[in-house]
Symmetry: C2
Subunit: 371 residues, 2 copies
């Protein structure tokens, strides 16, 4: 459960270009293991904040301020300039390997290829699947990447360096082809983002009492819609082909649903319309079963129970202490507050075999299990 | 935080028609307060299970087995037969008020109106906003409705009876016009359901490594896609007009996004395409801000911190005990496991003013705060 200093062997001094959330987090992680880190950013303020947080030494300052002997450059620039900055760094540091952390990979590979000069031999792309709702260096964390997949696109020594970087920061390297990566994130990240935004935007036109009926289902479904509009415009634009293709596929199914609903809204038999609706829901359920569970194992169907929690400090502590003392491991947990009520509903997921035992234990200790 | 026996005054004997999850839960709740409950169901097995669980007495059995003096009939039949069953019950019990619990209200009102005979004077629709992923009488709970909104559609004594029923079961009655209710649930429940299913269905065609990159965002976004296909086909069909209308509105925005992505995927300037994408994400964020927070108050922006948790019994208990002993109240909490790693990441939401204090307290107690 920790970062791996032995993974840093051979990384040499690392130059981080772009000291936002990801760049500063990488600098903090490497610095904490004694790897010399140089920092650069077009914003003097972002650079100074990253330095003050201990992420490394700005280029030109201090004892490791000389960028001549850099072994690896990590480009953490905004997605719409990543390709250009990667090419610039490959030219500026002919003895170094270069990687990036942007969430779309083919565009960066394309920029490196287009530049020619054999630059691609020293480049491998990367995409740590970590992020936060907050951004900027002040939100950075040395251990932001622990336990997260870190996609590596490339081969040879360059890819080895990126894998070593990922492992040293506690992430799990996953080797993928750039096109496969971009297709994958279109399905698991970019399309869900667009669609969550489209659903949440419906609330703008809804009446207040309607919005008042919104519950945990809608909140969970639209949580990722709480995102930065300009950053996402860049990401979606950079992955326009794969995202557009998956959305077109989705629209084709949506057209079928709307046609079925139109037929049902009119008088008449609407033959087949109900089966379109049922098949749509069934396909979603089957698709969802493919999402991996904990530890990368196949998904497990957990058993759930819902416990009533008075809304005061210490209640959750007492609950989890009671669950722990029963020797039962909690697989997932979520807490929801009831509208207009001074208490919450805690949903505890456990392995199916121990659910009933847990319910009995909790009931015996005075907890109200309500589901 | 409890059910309200005083609210049962005047309910008289209650007949529950349909002993699935909702009907059996209503029977259990009322019976626990001493209200005489009669049960009926077309399935003798479902009826016997509900009786054995203590939800009430089947019609024709036992001391309150006579349905003559029933004061209120609660129809908990499947959505596609609710209207017909309500009319049948209004005719069979001329001295009783009748309500239902189905998730679409205009169709039921229409069926009662179409029947004529002044039946509508004794009817008010209802919709408790409670449900579970499991269904059937075995999943029933006396306190399923505690803290949930219970929409009441109607007026006069009939509506008073439904409000009393809702309050006695611990729910919060919300008076709404049937059309307003159906429009509201289209936006906050039915459209999110359809769209979550459409997004999850994309995973059916994705390669294994792609699905392996799926994280908490996709899991949360598609959680409601884990639903019963036949039940949802009925609900969507019954609310075809409003759901179709909101989906058509969504499709119009989706068309704009796809056109922008198509323009960006081709060589050329794609003028305005990026602003379509940015406006889409911004509109979603603005819509999401309307979702109410805890206690029905306006939503609060909580501050979050992420804590590394070894995956073993008792760790969550220790964490929450430590948070409780710092006197800090947890507003929201979610737990996520890292792929391929034997630990989880707990996301704690607290009021912004106490976030830094909490982080310092936890760090001092040896917790790894990683975000």
């Amino acid at each position: 459960m920790s970062m791996d200093p032995t993974g840093t062997v051979g990384l040499g001094p690392v130059l981080v270009v772009g000291t936002g959330l990801l760049g500063t987090s990488i600098g903090l992680g490497l610095s904490s293991m004694g790897v010399p880190v140089l920092l650069d950013d077009v914003s003097p303020t972002a650079l100074a904040v990253a330095r003050d947080m201990g992420a490394g030494t700005p280029v030109g300052e201090g004892p490791v301020g000389d960028a001549e002997d850099v072994g690896l450059v990590v480009v953490c620039a905004p997605p719409d300039v990543t390709g250009a900055v990667v090419v610039e760094q490959l030219r500026r540091h002919p003895g170094a390997y270069v990687t990036d952390v942007s969430s779309v990979k083919l565009a960066v590979v394309g920029a490196v290829r287009a530049a020619g000069e054999g630059l691609g031999d020293r480049f491998a792309g990367g995409h740590p699947m970590a992020g936060r709702e907050r951004s900027g260096p002040t939100a950075a964390r040395a251990d932001l990447f622990i336990g997260r997949p870190w996609v590596v696109c490339g081969e040879g020594v360059a890819a080895d360096r990126v894998r070593a970087l990922a492992r040293s920061l506690g992430a799990t390297p996953v080797l993928m082809d750039p096109q496969a990566h971009d297709d994958a994130v279109a399905v698991v990240s970019h399309v869900p983002q667009v669609v969550a935004s489209l659903v949440a935007a419906r609330l703008l036109k809804a009446a207040d009492p309607a919005v008042g009926l919104a519950g945990a289902g809608l909140r969970d479904m639209t949580r990722i819609a709480d995102s930065d509009a300009l950053l996402w415009a860049q990401i979606l634009a950079a992955n326009a082909g794969p995202v557009g293709s998956v959305l077109a596929d989705l629209r084709s199914d949506l057209d079928g649903v709307i046609a079925a609903l139109d037929a049902l809204a009119e008088p008449g038999a609407a033959v087949g319309a109900r089966s379109v609706l049922a098949r749509t829901v069934a396909a979603g359920r089957a698709g969802r079963e493919r999402i991996p569970g904990k530890h990368g194992e196949p998904p497990t169907a957990y058993a759930r129970l819902t416990v009533l929690l008075p809304d005061e400090p210490g209640q959750l502590g007492r609950l989890f202490e009671d669950i722990g003392s029963a020797g039962i491991n909690i697989e997932e947990f979520s807490l929801e507050h009831s509208p207009g009520r001074p208490f919450g509903l805690g949903e505890v997921s456990v392995l199916p075999a121990v659910r009933d035992e847990l319910e009995q234990s909790l009931a015996a200790l005075g907890w109200r299990v309500v589901g």
